[in-house]
């Protein structure tokens, strides 16, 4: 039994070649043959001749298709990297402008000016008191605060006044945040001292 050599197999999968034979006119007169051949998706190769040469034309067409370089038809729609316009129908430049305007509005809403900060009407209503210094404070029974405490309070008050901007100078000291804290701390200190004095009196009585 003779050894048959295996048929050479190509690594890629070649597309089959299609040969189309057209004979015209079918009746009467000199018949002509047109042979076109190409693998699927490629531009065909065209041969024409008289009817008697039909076999030779077939051979030529087949050999010609085999020998030529692949001529795959590439359409414009198939080319890669084409931007998808359908996705950007709504994303035009006017949208960017609108977004920019909105972002500017949002930024202006978040921006707090000095005038707004120093405007007492926009702040929470704070009861106005005629007290402007520690001397104006009413005398409280059991107040054990010494003159040193008062001096320290006055010194702290002067320091805070020196640090305040000029825009806040017309505002009473207890209406500014820093002064409120200082005044509240002083009141708290006084209350603690009063509690301590009450406790000591209770202990003495007891």
């Amino acid at each position: 039994m003779p050894n048959k050599k295996p048929v050479n197999k190509t690594t890629d999968d070649p597309k089959p070649i299609t040969l189309i034979v057209t004979i015209y006119p079918p009746k009467k007169g000199q018949r002509h043959v047109m042979v076109s051949g190409a693998p699927e998706g490629e531009m065909p190769l065209l041969f024409t001749g008289i009817f008697q040469e039909r076999h030779a034309l077939l051979d030529q067409a087949f050999a010609g298709v085999l020998k030529r370089e692949p001529q795959i038809v590439t359409l414009k729609d198939d080319k890669p990297g084409k931007p998808d316009k359908a996705k950007s129908i709504t994303g035009d430049a006017s949208d960017d402008e609108t977004e920019e305007a909105e972002s500017k509005e949002a930024a202006s809403d978040q921006l707090v000016t000095v005038a707004e900060v120093s405007e007492p009407d926009s702040a929470e209503s704070v009861p106005v008191s005629p007290i402007t210094s520690a001397d104006d404070l009413p005398v409280i029974d059991g107040d054990t605060a010494t003159s040193d405490d008062v001096q320290r309070f006055e010194a702290a008050l002067e320091d805070i006044k020196a640090e305040q901007p000029a825009a806040l100078e017309g505002v009473p000291y207890y209406k500014t945040p820093a002064k409120k804290i200082a005044y509240g701390t002083f009141e708290k200190l006084k209350a603690e001292q009063a509690d301590a004095a009450d406790e000591s009196e209770d202990n003495d009585n007891g």
């Binding site: 299609t18 189309i20 057209t22 015209y24 047109m34 076109s36 190409a38 531009m43 065909p44 065209l46 024409t48 001529q71 038809v73 590439t74 359409l75 414009k76």
Partner: protein, 62 residues
């Protein structure tokens, strides 16, 4: 003076074929060109018939 068929980025010399024969030939090799849109262009004495696929209804090629 020569006549050419152009489809996509490829060009073919159609020889003595008429436009009707060229349409039949292209339709046999490219089924999407069964009802093609042909644009004739004359340049330097040569005539080029540019074949394009007609836009059909969605799903019509299934």
């Amino acid at each position: 003076m020569a006549n050419f068929i152009k489809y996509g980025d490829r060009k073919l010399d159609m020889g003595a074929l008429t436009l009707e024969q060229a349409k039949q030939l292209m339709a046999r090799h490219f089924p999407e060109l069964a009802d093609p849109e042909v644009k004739k262009e004359d340049k330097n004495g040569d005539t080029t018939y540019t074949f394009t696929k007609k836009a059909g209804r969605k799903g019509s090629d299934r």
